[in-house]
Symmetry: C2
Subunit: 190 residues, 2 copies
């Protein structure tokens, strides 16, 4: 998606070690109009697989997932990293490593929000190693739902998450695909 | 806002102790279309004060703040509860008690995202004791910005946050105002 790629070229910062700083428009400050455009595009790509629910992980997944859900006119569930008092005691919980923090995060979904038979579309900000997305996929599976697609704003293809996700046999889409971040550069697959 | 009040009447659960469970449409599973309608209404109410940036706190503030920002066509910043590696070492940090967890949360904003002279609109899911909103107000003040308004989806007027916020001399708006949760009921100011 040209608009997102141009914005990464303009405001994204390669911090080294494969870390892309996009917190001036995606991760901390969010460009609401750009996010809406991304949601519109992701919704367009996944409408053919008829999702009934979008699933994401707090925190940075919420904005793109919400906008995608809005265009698909379906609800979005965000997996929590800690269990609020309002959640039932019996939950689906899995662990996923945090890419930028070097720790393991809980990913928790209430059974009230994911019902057997639902068609789940996973949306996140990044597709890198795929660890968070695999965590969400395990939750979707535990809840007896059917995974129908995986979408991300930004893919780091050099981390090979996509390759591992191929076994899931669902469409995987990203709006900006980075093939290399070597030598301080950001090279896109355009 | 009638649509939100009706939804709380239908799907909100009074858990006792002043805790309202809304995680089937706001806090965990999010009704994206309802959230868009809430954002449209909040944007309409605050357009006259000309905000240049929406400020909220992760996690549950992100959805209403993003939708409000979209209609105002301005960016949104969400204060983080922990500092990602992509954030500079020098940040604005304050502490705010978590209503439903009984702990203190960090609220962190990068100086890159809040610049002196900006007109800040604070949006959150709940206005209860006002503790999170006061935390955001301290961050806005530390950054040299001007606070121009405070909006929430749901107000618990019996917790008196609004009364304390009056000293800030900015408009305070909520879309659903609850005046009592005694005896398992949810009584609105309609």
């Amino acid at each position: 998606m040209k608009e997102l790629i141009e914005r990464i070229k303009k405001d994204g910062v390669n911090l080294g070690g494969g870390i892309l700083k996009v917190d001036s428009f995606i991760n901390h400050e969010v460009d609401a109009m750009l996010m809406e455009a991304c949601g519109r595009e992701l919704a367009k790509r996944f409408r053919p697989v008829n999702p009934t629910k979008v699933l994401t992980a707090e925190i940075s997944g919420i904005a793109p997932a919400l906008m995608t859900a809005k265009f698909l006119e379906i609800p979005v569930v965000f997996a929590r990293k800690s269990k609020p008092v309002t959640m039932p005691n019996q939950v689906y919980l899995t662990l996923a490593p945090s890419h930028t923090r070097g720790i393991m995060n809980d990913l928790i979904v209430s059974p009230e929000c994911l019902q057997p038979g639902e068609r789940v579309l996973i949306i996140d900000d990044f597709l890198a190693s795929g660890a968070t997305i695999f965590g969400l996929e395990r939750l979707a599976q535990a809840a007896g739902t059917e995974l129908v697609g995986i979408g991300a704003l930004i893919e780091k293809r050099f981390e090979e998450g996509r390759k591992k996700l191929e076994n899931l046999n669902v469409p995987v889409e990203s709006l900006a695909c980075i093939i290399s971040m070597n030598d301080g550069k950001i090279i896109f697959d355009e």
